[in-house]
């Protein structure tokens, strides 16, 4: 194993790519016009379906040969009736008895002179069709949207589940996710038309209601029948409530059933944003108020808490119980580090890697570097007034054993920098409590993952701590690879993962998770009615995770599930941390 980094690299906000498509709203600032184009035409029994690029309406004028040019067939001898509306972008024309159109051969095109079809709301006439479109044969089944959400937020958390709510997002920087299913024909998700019922701003002017927003969004990421459209920085949705409508058609030309999604846009002021430019967390191990002693009183293994500081951080005392810290370490393992220091560096490096994964896309940085002390007498100071928050990875939650893995200040909207390395005046301790983590693990059965991972190193169970044998110097530096080398690496890796999950949970609280109540007032915390098992400031969402993984902000964490790479923040919590979803200012 190689020497790890001490400082965890910065996690940067994923930058949205530049606006794709182009065109769209047309006109300069204040303009709200767009010109719909005919993009597909299909035969559906005794009718023709016309699909447009944007929302359209029939003007009321007669549709005749001056409007619609037909090739390879005829609309027949009688006048074509006015088109009828199927959805915002689709019209239906009933054919005369003697019409003769053949799918795959006949073509249609709007002429430059047409005056029968125009943009919705009395807008300009639909454009002439540059290249006549070959009629397809519409099949029997319409596609349906099986997904329409923002930021990949699960249905249950997006205001579309039993918990209701109204998803609130900033004017830009969020994604629109759509997915289509159709048993009879493929659907091109990238061809989704997105309409808003209110004008959306762009650097080139307003995009009017009814204009296809997809033009001004980033080119979609497509996977099968699903597409993700990103709202780039140059586009701004208007504050307030609005409805998005997603439209599409299957490959046969049959319009899909329209889907709608209600959302609320809130200006993303510094006060309501959780991370702003970047949240820095200084992690420390430096609390020393007790020491721990392995015991098997009553046959139940545990760590007795002795209220005597011993000059060793309490966290290391807990690690010593599972052999990751040793009273007489091997000196000079690498770069002047003894075996304890080397293991600690490895552990810190792995914690950093795990936190980086858990907070992917979040403007947060974790460091074990000493950034200094917190302002005297304060546990929370205005966010912009100080450079970082702190969290102690400590020993016990209390002077007597508890089941508490961590405790942190809850900071709605992350308006303050918080000192979770503090022991408060009343005696309440903040931070992550390795005593609980280790004591629980030691109590678990010998066939448990914890025991099988740490028993080879646990002195209380006959194991040999890291650094207790000379060859560990070789093992730590990869000069000797045997079963013990693997056991040591695995123990460090799993301990780091468990610590990282708890750190993520506690830092999550101090960044605003999980505000009680439905969106937009909260993030569905404290709602056991809709999310059974939830408690105040926590949310249990087992149905949204595999059975062997869990939501980081659950009320309780278990060691096995913490190991799963699928364990993480739920989709709404992650969107909040990424500033893609914001709850009301508290």
């Amino acid at each position: 194993m190689t020497h790890p980094r001490r400082t965890i690299p910065a996690l940067l906000l994923a930058l949205l790519t530049s606006c794709g498509g182009g065109g769209g709203g047309g006109g300069g600032p204040g303009a709200a016009t767009f010109v719909p184009e005919l993009v597909a035409a299909a035969l559906d029994g005794n009718a023709v379906l016309l699909l447009f690029s944007d929302a359209v309406e029939a003007s009321g004028a007669v549709l005749d040969a001056e409007d619609l040019a037909v090739g390879g067939g005829t609309f027949g001898s009688t006048a074509v009736p006015a088109p009828t509306r199927i959805d915002d972008r689709s019209l239906r024309i009933e054919l005369a008895q003697d019409a003769l159109l053949v799918a795959g051969r006949s073509t249609v095109a709007l002429t430059a002179a047409q005056d029968a079809i125009r943009a919705r709301g009395g807008g300009p006439r639909a454009a002439a069709t540059a290249t006549p479109l070959v009629l397809t044969q519409a099949d029997g089944e319409a596609a349906v949207a099986d997904l329409l959400t923002l930021n990949a937020i699960d249905r249950e958390l997006a205001g579309t589940g039993a918990a209701v709510g109204l998803l609130q997002v900033p004017p830009a920087g969020f994604t629109i996710d759509v997915g289509w299913s159709d048993p009879s024909s493929p659907v091109d998700a990238a061809a989704t038309i997105l309409l808003a019922d209110r004008a959306v701003g762009t650097s080139g002017g307003l995009v009017a209601p009814g204009a296809n927003l997809a033009r001004v969004l980033s080119a979609p990421l497509v996977a099968g029948a699903r597409a993700r459209f990103a709202v780039p920085a140059g586009v701004a949705f208007p504050p307030g409530d609005l409805t998005l409508t997603a439209l599409n058609a299957d490959a046969s030309g049959r319009p899909a059933a329209p889907a709608t999604f209600r959302l609320r846009i809130v200006p993303n002021s510094a006060a309501i944003r959780p991370t702003e430019t970047e949240q820095v967390w200084a992690l420390t191990f430096d609390r020393d108020i007790e020491r721990f002693e392995f015991q098997t009183g009553g046959g139940l293994p545990g760590l007795r808490i002795d209220p005597t500081p011993n000059g060793v951080p309490d966290a290391f005392d807990a690690l010593a119980a599972v052999g990751l810290w040793y009273a007489n370490p091997l000196p000079g393992v690498q770069g002047g580090l003894d075996s304890n220091e080397f293991v600690l560096a490895e552990l810190q490096g792995r914690i950093g890697v795990e936190l980086e994964a858990l907070f992917e896309g979040v403007a947060v940085r974790f460091t074990f570097d000493d950034l200094g002390s917190f302002p005297a007498g304060a546990v929370a100071v205005p966010y912009a007034s100080f450079g970082f928050s702190r969290l102690c990875i400590g020993g016990a939650a209390s002077s007597s054993p508890t089941g508490t893995l961590g405790a942190a200040l809850f900071d709605p909207n992350n308006q303050t920098q918080d000192d979770n390395a503090a022991v408060l005046q009343a005696g309440d301790r903040l931070g992550v409590f390795l005593h609980t983590l280790v004591a629980f693990g030691l109590r678990s059965g010998t066939a448990s993952l914890f025991r099988q991972t740490f028993d080879p190193l646990t002195p209380g169970f006959g194991g040999t701590p890291v650094g207790a044998v000379a060859d560990d110097r070789l093992r730590l530096t990869d000069a000797l690879n045997d079963a013990r080398t693997a056991a040591i690496a695995q123990a460090i890796r799993r301990m780091a993962r468990a610590i990282a999950v708890v750190v993520a949970h506690e830092c999550g609280h101090s960044m605003g998770l999980v505000a009680n109540g439905a969106m937009p007032g909260g993030l569905f915390g404290g709602d056991p009615g809709n999310f059974p098992g939830s408690t105040s400031l926590h949310i249990a969402t087992p149905a949204l995770f595999p059975t062997d993984a869990q939501n980081v902000m659950s009320p309780a964490i278990d060691f096995d599930r913490a190991m799963s790479p699928a364990t993480g923040f739920n989709s709404l919590n992650l969107a909040y941390l990424r500033e893609q979803a914001l709850y009301d200012l508290k």
Partner: protein, 326 residues
């Protein structure tokens, strides 16, 4: 006023496979009572004072009334839960020294998940009351054999969370585990095999059987993997095999793996990986070399966790078969 919004939140530890930790709360708390929430009042900007009446004392010497101080600014754990009577596992609240003496004594929970169950007339309550009685009698010196027999009975025929708590209590205490009779072990294995709905219970019972020295657990659970599609069970089978057979774990799993197809084969691969043994690693690497990468093989190697296993799959951490977020 900003500071008033700061609340202390907390996170309970949950042992693997155990939905509740009442047994630990009982062990760690000097006072165990059934109590009635009789009122709450604010105290300044910082506290809610929850008043309780003791209805029944199960451990320690309980005062007739007491207070749990809920911090508004620094809400401590566990949060009091107004409503029906609950079993509470309590300790002195050292952080309440400055609160009004007229509401003393101040107590606080131990923070164990499931450590404050509702007390009602249902069968689950009857079971956890039985669990509490058995554990407290054990604390007072009752013999291991009788305690073990009671816990086995509870693990087999109890209701609600107390079943798994009883099973885990046996797993955690060597003396109790060793005191399980051979009939008890047989019954526990039968229950493990027969459990089809509560996977946590199935795993707990199977693990207990293996840890108690029962023969045939691995074989029985390999057969169970044919009908139970849950990665938790597959991993548990691997760990049980390692516990029971050490480095020989793969040899026990291998015949089942050879005969299995499709999803059952994938689950057995995961079990092989979860043994964490050298033999399993060699077999998985050989399979990957012969058949190429697959999601199931990579999941098995990830479950193995040795550096060589992770290197083989490119050191990648996330996403596995069954590990993709839903």
């Amino acid at each position: 006023m900003r500071a008033l919004l700061l609340l202390l939140s907390s996170l309970a530890a949950l042992a693997p496979g155990t939905p509740a930790q009442l047994r630990h709360a009982i062990a760690d708390a000097p006072l165990v009572v059934i109590a009635r929430h009789v009122g709450v009042r604010p105290l300044g900007n910082d506290y809610f004072l929850h008043r309780y009446e003791t209805a029944e004392t199960l451990k320690g010497e309980a005062p007739p009334t007491f207070t749990i101080a809920e911090r508004k600014r620094i809400a401590d754990l566990p949060q009091p839960k107004p409503g029906p009577d609950r079993l509470l596992c309590l300790r002195p609240d050292r952080g309440a020294a400055d609160l009004p003496a007229s509401f003393a004594p101040y107590l606080i929970g131990t923070g164990h998940a499931g450590g404050d169950p509702v007390v009602d007339e249902g069968p689950a309550t009857a079971s956890f009351r039985q669990l509490v009685r058995v554990l407290l009698e054990s604390e007072r010196g009752r013999g291991s054999s009788r305690t073990a027999a009671d816990l086995v009975e509870l693990a087999l025929r109890g209701q609600g969370p107390a079943r798994v708590e009883a099973s885990e209590a046996l797993r955690e205490r060597t003396a109790l585990r060793d005191a399980i009779s051979s009939f008890g072990r047989d019954d526990l294995l039968l229950a493990a095999v027969g459990e089809s709905e509560d996977i946590e219970r199935k795993i707990s019972l199977a693990s207990l059987c293996a840890e108690a020295g029962q023969k045939g657990v691995v074989e029985a659970m390999c057969i169970a993997l044919q009908s139970v599609d849950d990665p938790r069970l597959a991993r548990a089978v691997g760990r049980i095999a390692r516990h029971a057979h050490g480095e020989g774990a793969f040899a026990v799993l291998e015949p089942f793996l050879r005969q299995a197809r499709g999803g059952v084969h994938d689950r057995l691969l995961l079990a092989v990986g979860a043994t964490g043994t050298d033999g399993a690693l060699a077999a998985l690497l050989a399979l990957r070399s012969r058949d190429g990468a697959s999601a199931a093989l990579d999941a098995a190697l990830r479950a193995h966790g040795a550096p060589r296993a992770l290197e083989a799959i490119g050191g990648q951490e996330p996403t596995e078969a069954g590990g993709q977020r839903r």
